[in-house]
Symmetry: C2
Amino acid sequence: MDFFKYFSTNQIQQIHETTLSIMETTGLVFTYKPARDLFAKAGCKIDGQRVFFPKKLVEEQIKKAPSQFTLYARNSEKNVVIGGDHIAFMPCYGAPFVNDMDKGRRQGTLEDFNNFAKLAYESPYMDITGGMMTEPNDIPVANRNAERIYSSMIFSDKPFMGAGTGAKDAKQTIDMASIVFGSREEMKKKPPFISILCSLTPLAFDDKMCGGIMEYANAGMPQLISSLAIAGATAPVTMEGTLVVQNAEILAGITLAQLVREGTPVVFAGSSSATAMRYGTLSIGAPEMAVNTAATAQMGRFYNLPVRGGGALTDAKTVDSQAAYESMMSMMMATMSGINFVLHSAGILEGYITASYEKFIIDNEICGMCKRIKRGEEITAEKLAADVINEVGPGGEYLTNLHTFKHFKTELYTPVMEERDNFESWSNKGGLTMEQRANARYKEILENYKEPDMDNAVRKDLDAYINAIRNT
Amino acid sequence: MDFFKYFSTNQIQQIHETTLSIMETTGLVFTYKPARDLFAKAGCKIDGQRVFFPKKLVEEQIKKAPSQFTLYARNSEKNVVIGGDHIAFMPCYGAPFVNDMDKGRRQGTLEDFNNFAKLAYESPYMDITGGMMTEPNDIPVANRNAERIYSSMIFSDKPFMGAGTGAKDAKQTIDMASIVFGSREEMKKKPPFISILCSLTPLAFDDKMCGGIMEYANAGMPQLISSLAIAGATAPVTMEGTLVVQNAEILAGITLAQLVREGTPVVFAGSSSATAMRYGTLSIGAPEMAVNTAATAQMGRFYNLPVRGGGALTDAKTVDSQAAYESMMSMMMATMSGINFVLHSAGILEGYITASYEKFIIDNEICGMCKRIKRGEEITAEKLAADVINEVGPGGEYLTNLHTFKHFKTELYTPVMEERDNFESWSNKGGLTMEQRANARYKEILENYKEPDMDNAVRKDLDAYINAIRNT
């Protein structure tokens, strides 16, 4: 499989050189003093909060990150390889609101968070349970990280996402994971979670994100070093210029992680997109999002790093055609440009603001289809089936052929939600839209949900940890 | 730009050799005697209706077709290049039913056909007016081709599609086009339309399609030589085997066209997909459709021919999320795998059965997005904008920057239909879904439609032609 590519090798080199030159001459702001101290020690010039990066340092450091790593699940059958030709899907992240057909749009609660953790666990296409699927607004801010990590570990046995909210929460995530996955040393060898740490575009990193990067790097925990530059608002209106800003930020963040601890597993993570010029706001359903996903994939591969991009992303306010085609656009681009890690693969509505139950179900189907497309074709005699074609001949049929019986279950994608029946039969079943079917489906999954087993002693310790937090 | 590819050069060669071997040993059925006679003259062995193709003949003939050609529009600004790195979009084709929110699903009429011709003319993203957008069921079958061609030429000044319904209709199409575009000799140099001629899978061609191929080839008219093999029904259930069947049919059809007239412009056209195994029917929204589109694109390029594939295709029965994401899936794959000609780019619902007014509008937005994605990135100093990035520096903003003013109109795609506003504002405007907005939009376009000018004398001749048909 040859991934879709915009750039020639020369063009990539030109983007790379432009990026390094900006990092060296203009530099980036790091508000976090421990980060600046580390950069100074490594030979960066510092002026106030501004850090200037020698080209050689950046090139040396990014080479230290592994090109591939594994996230170790509580259920080892669900370990996830990040990098290479693999693609991993994970649900929505960071939505303050939730939405479903019955109750409409409202603030997310811990119950909603738990529901999405359960849906992610039950999904055959979500590889990672997720992190902050929705904000649990009904519990104290101070308790939210612990509750999220607790839910992520008990309601699912897949790898999960840690806090992206500063050093303190990062440390708490590591401590809680340690109850389930063993000592810090053991987790360094077999990391069970990954976290997302974001730049403050343009060309800056704040205390929280630097704190997170350094705490996690110190513990050997994998991290997405992520930039969301908005073409026309926080970066040049040209996607090429936006790519340069994004690149500078990601490389600076990765350099920090490697300086803390050589070999820290990182993902080159770009989610830049365009401004909706009429409103001056971010548009994540724009075609420029797909353009940037392809560009990001190629840059990440150039650096020999796993890449994040894409997602089931939309600006739509309700689960409609716009929500669906914008989501498929970015999921297809992620799949075909060689992205390894797709955050927001299910549930996002309204430009990251809302997590939708129905859309979560619909996006799962999109993920399943993308995995089928990624599997592609396999050129073997059995698959080419020349003997069968010769035997059936002109005018024949294949429905009752042995070759069909032998292969149909593995060859053809079996949709969960899609309507492929005829119009009359569909009408007789009630003429339901995909959105209505998704509404019924998410409730069915939650009703039939069964919590995965957890060792009793471990669960007891974990419950004690969360109860202590709840009771403070 | 490097297109998405599944196969290595060796694998392509293997598919090619397997195809030629089947064409040689098993052969294809051609029910049309004039076609068989021509094949016999060229050295094919014939047994009844079965034609066996020497490998060398096929390889020689397909080399005679041009790798690129132009369709000449009535308005020369709307000429369309087919081949190379170009992608051309064209509306739905062959739908017996139409659907809109107000009147629901019903048989298509000539008025519906005319409406779709007008919508295609008004669309900035449809390159070709279309052919049989819907069947005009309210007029006599014998008059339908003439009425369609008449409408296509008067309601739009873009290139159009001719009949795919046999030698007689092909001849009529050429005669009618000649009234507007000049003599047969002139049209040979500047063909104004293209037609689609399909195989009868597996491994056969019927009288009508052969008649069309031969009539058009004789007149030098471009044609899509198209195969729709259904994995698991009319072809092996493996997409690899289906690709071989599709390939054999397309190559046989192209060989026929070249034997009639060397250099006949053809498009290597594959629209194969999977069986919905639960119902035993064709699924065009299946991920296997996208898989086959990528495979077709690569095969066509291997033969140095323009390629057809993809489309805004869906099995959904109503304009919903499924309709939207399935459509975007195949449109994205067409865009990224290097397809040149996308039939069914707008309006298809229910697996080719229905042409939807609302979906036509929604799919147009998809086409616009795909064209933006295809445009990609351009690595120049002005676009990389290093000076601007250095000047703005960390923490700055780009909304009021001169570089933004200079470029935003051309850099960022401006959606017609998409909702990018915030939730409150969207709610205050009525909280309309994309489907509701599309319903209003198609009516608005039809209300404001203005027929493109046509030379009075030409129009008089054309009217005389159609009136003669209407009065027989």
